[in-house]
Amino acid sequence: MKDFREWLREDRMPHIYCTGCGNGTVINCTLNAVNQMGWEPENTVFISGIGCSSRAPGYIITDSLHTTHGRAIPFATGVKLCRPDLHVVVFTGDGDLAAIGGNHFIHACRRNIDLTVVCMNNYIYGMTGGQGSPCTPLGAISTTTPYGCDEAPFDLASLATAAGANYVSRWTSYHVKELTRAVKAGLETPGLSFIEAMVQCPTGYGRRNKLRDARLMVQWMRDHSVLMKKWKQMEAEGRPLPEDKFPVGEFVRRHRPAMGVPEE
């Protein structure tokens, strides 16, 4: 394909996403990376669970499975183990991946099955109207944390790293080029690749948390992300790590034994 936009299923437009939603950015970055790999739609499969993020495969021309809430990875495992020659990419959300699907996530990282998992982490349940998720920051307002979230959130990229994924990185919808490069690196790495893409959900999160629109939310992510190199330097120097900030960049790239990798 000449252009990544050719991967889009045009007869399904308009899409369901709200104005200012960050999911479209992640879909574009991912398709751009897939296209750069030179893959053909016939040999590529997108698989997702349930949520706004998980609607992505329905907008792509390849074979795709829009499955049940939290279960995209085990569905993808069945596809990949039977057809290692197919390229299998999973789209998921923070709730889908880390709440209801948390067990599948860590086991897929442990197995290191050859999937690329792209999580659109908007730190909220977007589709169901803005309830708290396992990634909602402390103090944040959601419809189920009306007095501020009092549970500490997951750090998904660190979780994937600890569980054994071969490639892990985190970027945000502000970092479009870096995110595209990270997805491509994930697609190139055998074994499980996990890309956490922090995205804005102005509807479910922003408007309840003094981030009125998408612009403010993207600015917030830009201003609260710290490049991995700098983060590690602060760590090495024993400097206190700012609690309201998070590192972005590559967490790990390695070659643990993997499953479902196509034979050369």
Binding site: G58, D63, L65, G70, P74, R83, D85, H107
Partner: protein
């Protein structure tokens, strides 16, 4: 040609699946089904298949459905607690018309119940366990031979009608060892493929669309949302939902004559046993011992869709007696289809009805 073996029911089940071309097994260990998984773990890698032990039963059935979309015959095996965990994804397989085989070696429930004792307590759960209106296919083996034959057959039914198909076994059949005649080959009915360019969820007269195997350029979108014939979500149009659900149910229920599989003994009988699975063995002995043409038997090998017409073959029936290892699940179904009284004969705890006990009850109606 056949060869003679002396196999455990669960081994016969696994071998029947392999003979039918099953090449993917995703499962999670649970008594009394575990030997199926263990046997598949030994055998599949040697014949180019895939065995994977998943992290739980939600994942097991998910992996099986994913595997099926690559065109691979796929199965899992479980028992009560694991079966309960599978329910949501079974509904997904029904909605997306994904062929797959689910073996449930039934044990006593509810909950953890009796892990090592037989039961038929999940007959209604397999029929109605997932939410929404739907229909499925279930077979029920009554011997080690049938563990083999009916498991193989389940793959054909699943592929023919594109619906999850259940092998509803029980601990007795699964763990007993019996002589079995293993055939050299079994009949294989392939999944009908989608024609290139055809709408992926548009069905012909039989209500079953062609299958768009992944990786062949169909570019099919598969979703558990209510979808139109293109496979595109259309979850608020009442007409689309009504047509889809009626087709999914109709393609199974209307085919109940062509997939009927049952055994009739003494069709002129007045007192008729209706049974399936291991209690059918006690019934067989009872009918033989009583040696009275007024006592007959209907044994179901395909239980769902329920063959209502089979009851009507017994023109002289005055009562249907239904011995089951539950409190009367299929008895209730039978009663829906006949004006003749239906009497459940429940047995709980894991023991079979004895022929003497059944004969005494039958005598009471003669």
């Amino acid at each position: 040609m056949t060869r003679l073996e002396f196999w455990q029911g669960n081994i016969a089940c696994a071998e029947g699946a392999l003979a039918a071309g099953c090449r993917f097994f995703g499962g999670y260990p649970i008594t009394p089904s575990t030997e199926v998984a263990e046997h598949m773990a030994r055998r599949l890698p040697k014949i180019g298949g895939v065995f994977v032990q998943m992290e739980d039963e939600l994942a097991s059935i998910a992996s099986v459905i994913g595997a099926s979309w690559t065109g691979t015959r796929s199965m899992t095996a479980t028992s009560g607690p694991g079966f309960s965990l599978m329910m949501e994804n079974i509904g997904y397989a029904i909605m997306t018309e994904t062929p797959c085989v689910i073996v449930n070696v039934q044990r006593g429930g509810p909950s953890t119940g009796q892990p090592t004792r037989a039961s038929q307590g999940d007959m209604m759960q397999c029929r109605f366990g997932s939410h929404g209106d739907s229909s499925i296919i279930a077979v029920s083996p009554a011997s080690v031979q049938e563990m083999y034959e009916l498991t193989a057959k389940a793959f054909n039914l699943a592929d023919r009608y594109r619906v999850p198909t259940f092998v509803m076994a029980d601990e007795i059949i699964a763990h007993m060892r019996e002589r079995i005649e293993v055939p050299d080959t079994v009949e294989i009915v392939e999944r009908r493929q989608l024609e290139k360019g055809a709408l992926p969820f548009a069905a012909g007269e039989d209500g079953v669309p062609g299958f768009p195997t992944f990786g062949q350029g169909h570019g099919v979108h598969v979703t558990g949302l209510t979808h139109d014939e293109r496979g595109y979500p259309s979850s608020t149009d009442p007409g689309v939902h009504d047509r889809l659900v009626r087709r999914l149910v109709g393609k199974v229920e209307e085919a109940r004559h062509e997939m009927a599989d049952y055994e009739v003994t003494n069709p002129d009988a007045e007192v008729v046993f209706v049974s399936y699975g291991s209690p059918a063995r006690s019934v067989k002995q009872t009918v033989r011992d009583m040696d009275d043409e007024r006592v007959g038997s209907l044994r179901l090998r395909v239980v769902w869709p329920f063959p209502d017409f089979a009851l009507h073959e017994f023109k002289n029936a005055r009562v249907f007696l239904v011995p089951e290892l539950n409190l009367g699940q299929i008895a209730r179904e039978a009663a829906r289809h006949t004006a003749v009284p239906v009497v459940p004969i429940p047995e709980l705890g894991g023991e079979l009805h004895t022929p003497a006990q059944l004969a005494e009850i039958a005598e009471g109606y003669l």
